[in-house]
């Protein structure tokens, strides 16, 4: 049943990984992604893989999983072996979970998705339901097998991906930033699932994460990949953090025991003027299903406001409604009188041009906002559409490039930027038109430490200059550092349908 040329018969249990001077250069690039890496991971060990972004960690994991492709996709130097054989011949021995929860979902029902790996490996059809049930239990995903995968939350999707991998009974479990795109609850769920799964199966574990405090106590060993090649460190966590902790923090890793060096702003004064206010507000995405009703909202001017609450509570919908992008389902959002446009004080009635200079919005996915082919042009779009003279546009753009450390990327295509750079660019495009109100949807999502610090510092300077900031966020530290007034959406009220 599992007989094939690509899988050694009868191997099970944890697998060891050896690298000897291994390197990989993607075809079409000049510099190798990974260079001269050597280590031996014993079966059953738990390893945390760290390094600056661009150091090649994901490439290393892809190499261990045997997914880098053939000779036409790049050049390999040295050797990388799983259980003493090349990874491409070990399909099913190595399981990989990716960062993006949506990318790992293959089929539309939970049970089918988990069974996918077993089907590919030729497991007998009669054995598959048992394996699926076992895997779902191992990750604690308590949903019926017929549930639609698209209805799952981020944390559930990641656990589903993990279950799909565990159903193959792999010897190595590779996780590439599994919690980067999750809210705190999802992070906890996934962490618990991984711990349970590894304890039961004893598989070798290799995790890439910049949120080390979540994983540090589960790991036996930390390997730090150097950006210039080779390994910067390799040893028990305590020792590695003590030795290269500062370098790691500078590279964006959340190293335990190194607090953030930013001031904490005083809490906002809420009885002053408000930039935006609404009473009896109902918000909805499509005017038919009401997400939240009966909201009383005040956004104090010149200070930070945070919109918090669990998944599905309607935080993004509220933020977009306050920003004038979604029409209110009931009630009215009114802006302060000095912000009024030609049609009055309701942002949802303003034209796009009026909105540009009054309320800036930073979307959760920066790429939804990109319009141009270079970073420079991207920043120039707002000022140009306002009719600003070219020379002045250049001044504005240069200033922003400096302020947000994007100067070396001025001519790059926005889509080629890293996650942190894209976020900075999307914030910069909003700042180019100096709106008095800025609305951000999950600004620190998926950010490493460096990106986080830069963003919060930027928001603090904006608040100091008198800008009103509204942020949807799960991250309590952000709100604390901004001295934010909170709008708590609490538990979601059962949604009604508009009459």
């Amino acid at each position: 049943m599992t007989a094939s040329s690509a899988r050694p018969a009868g191997r099970s249990g944890p697998a060891g990984i050896t690298a000897a001077g291994w390197g990989w250069r993607y075809a079409g690039r000049r510099a190798p992604a990974v260079h001269d890496v050597s280590f031996t991971i014993e079966p059953g060990q738990r390893v945390l893989l760290l390094g600056a972004s661009g150091a090649g960690k994901s490439t290393l994991l892809a190499g261990i999983a045997g997914l880098l492709g053939g000779a036409d996709e790049g050049d390999q130097t040295g050797a990388l072996l799983v259980d003493g054989a090349r990874p491409e011949t070990q399909r099913g021995r190595v399981g990989l979970v990716l960062q993006d929860p949506d990318a790992g979902v293959v089929l539309s029902k939970v049970g089918d998705d988990v069974a996918f790996g077993c089907e590919n490996l030729g497991v007998a059809a009669s054995d598959i339901p048992a394996r699926v049930a076992e895997a779902l239990e191992a990750v604690g995903l308590d949903v019926p097998p017929g549930r639609a995968t698209k209805a799952l939350s981020g944390g559930q999707k990641q656990r589903l991906a993990l279950a799909g991998v565990l159903a193959m009974r792999p010897g190595v479990l590779l996780l590439d930033e599994p919690t980067a795109n999750l809210d705190p609850e999802g992070v906890r769920e996934v962490r618990a699932a991984v711990e349970h799964a590894v304890a039961e199966s004893g598989a070798t574990l290799v995790v890439i994460e910049h949120r080390t405090e979540v994983w540090a106590d589960l790991m036996d060993r930390v390997i730090v990949v150097g950006a210039e090649g080779g390994l910067l460190a390799d040893g028990p966590p305590v020792e590695v953090f003590a030795r290269v902790g500062d370098d790691l923090a500078a590279a964006g890793v959340w190293v335990p025991g190194r607090p953030i060096d930013l001031p904490v702003l005083a809490p906002a004064v809420t009885d002053g003027e408000s930039a935006l206010a609404a009473s009896g507000l109902s918000v909805s995405r499509d005017r038919r299903t009401i997400v939240r009703a009966g909201l009383e909202v005040r956004v104090p001017r010149g200070a930070a406001t945070g919109i918090v609450g669990p998944n599905g509570a309607g935080k993004s919908t509220l933020a977009l409604t306050l920003a004038g992008l979604l029409p209110e389902a009931a009630g009215e959002v009114l802006a302060a009188p000095q912000l009024a446009g030609r049609s009055g004080r309701r942002p949802s009635r303003w034209t796009s041009r009026e909105l540009l200079t009054r309320i800036g919005t930073v979307f959760q996915e920066p790429e939804h906002q990109f319009l141009a082919a270079t970073v420079r042009d991207e920043l120039a779009i707002g000022p140009r559409s306002r009719g600003v003279a070219t020379a002045d546009v250049d001044v504005i753009v240069d200033e922003l490039l400096e302020r947000l450390h994007l100067a070396p990327l001025a001519l790059a295509n926005p889509f080629t930027l890293s996650g942190g750079q894209k976020r900075r660019l999307s914030v910069a495009t909003v700042l180019a038109d100096a709106p008095p109100v800025i609305v951000l949807d999950e600004p620190t999502f998926g950010q490493d430490r460096r990106g986080w610090v830069e963003l919060v510092a930027l928001l603090q300077s904006e608040i100091a200059a008198g800008t009103t900031v509204v942020a949807v966020t799960h991250d309590d530290d952000v709100l604390r550092h901004l001295g934010a007034h909170r709008i708590d959406l609490g538990l979601p009220v059962p949604a009604g349908v508009a009459s």
């Binding site: 399909r91 029902k109 059809a125 698209k150 991906a161 599905g312 920003a323 796009s352 200079t357 919005t361």
Partner: protein, 265 residues
């Protein structure tokens, strides 16, 4: 709370006769109920096909309301297709009106009506047959029964699941453009810009999905097993015979009424 992707209204969940028919048979039926109609343009065969297929509605398990809702755009569009035929068919019989290249004649009127009915008759099979088909079931059937290469069938199935994500992206991009000051004018330019970003997302998602699938052993050459076996049953033969009967009756009716008109004559 979850926005419906293609706005599918609630479907009757009791099992219908057609649910027991293998999806590959449904594909054969869809072809069977369409291709013969291509041969002739006339009112009788189209009308007979429509009536006979509608008579089979109870077998499909689709509520009448759903059917009407899906038929609406087609019924609205049919006359439009007819107009082109009305004006530009080869003239024949008495000519009523002429302007430039357009000529309205006896022949063109008859053809126009036939075309309207034909549009409806050709659109009906897919609505009736695939209103309740699960894509995964279809893919399983195509790979196991029709013996299409499983790499292609499953790869395409996995890829087509991204449709819902793209709809969300499209909506979000529209809002983002309003926020960036370009939402007032230039709908066509905005359309192309959004379409392009959708392509970027498409390639990226596809690449990531392919990696995830390969990581689960997909495409590795190991002989595959199927957790959801798909087989043919006697009911499939009955369905095919039913389809043949409908077509025979429809075309037979046209021949008997003398209105059968071969397209290329």
């Amino acid at each position: 709370m979850t926005a419906a992707v293609a706005d599918v209204p609630a479907v009757d969940t009791r099992p219908a006769w057609l649910d027991g028919v293998n999806p590959v048979t449904k594909v054969v039926l869809a072809l069977l109920l369409s291709v013969p109609l291509f041969a002739s343009i006339d009112v009788t065969s189209a009308l007979a096909a429509i009536v006979l297929q509608l008579a089979c509605l109870p077998l499909t398990g689709l509520p009448v309301r759903t059917l009407l809702k899906r038929m609406l755009p087609i019924v609205v569009f049919a006359p439009v297709a007819g107009v082109s035929m009305l004006l530009y068919a080869e003239p024949g019989g008495r000519v009523y009106w002429s302007f430039g290249y357009a000529t309205v004649s006896d022949d063109s009127i008859a053809l126009a009506i036939a075309v309207c009915l034909r549009v409806v008759a050709l659109a009906l099979p897919t609505i009736l047959l695939f209103g309740r088909t699960d894509p995964t079931e279809l893919a399983d059937a195509l790979a196991q029964v029709a013996k299409l290469p499983s790499r292609f069938v499953l790869g395409v199935l996995a890829g087509t699941r991204t449709l819902g994500l793209f709809l969300d992206d499209w909506r979000s991009m529209g809002l983002a453009r309003r926020a960036r000051g370009v939402g007032d004018t230039g709908a066509i330019r905005r359309f192309f810009s959004m379409a392009f970003v959708l392509l970027v997302f498409a390639v990226r998602r596809g690449t990531k999905l392919a990696t995830a699938m390969e990581a689960r052993g997909f495409g590795s050459g190991i002989p595959r097993t199927w957790a959801r076996p798909s087989r043919l049953h006697p009911r499939d033969a009955v369905a095919v015979l039913g389809g043949v009967a409908i077509m025979a009756l429809a075309i037979g009716a046209a021949v008997a009424a003398g209105t059968f008109r071969f397209v290329w004559s």
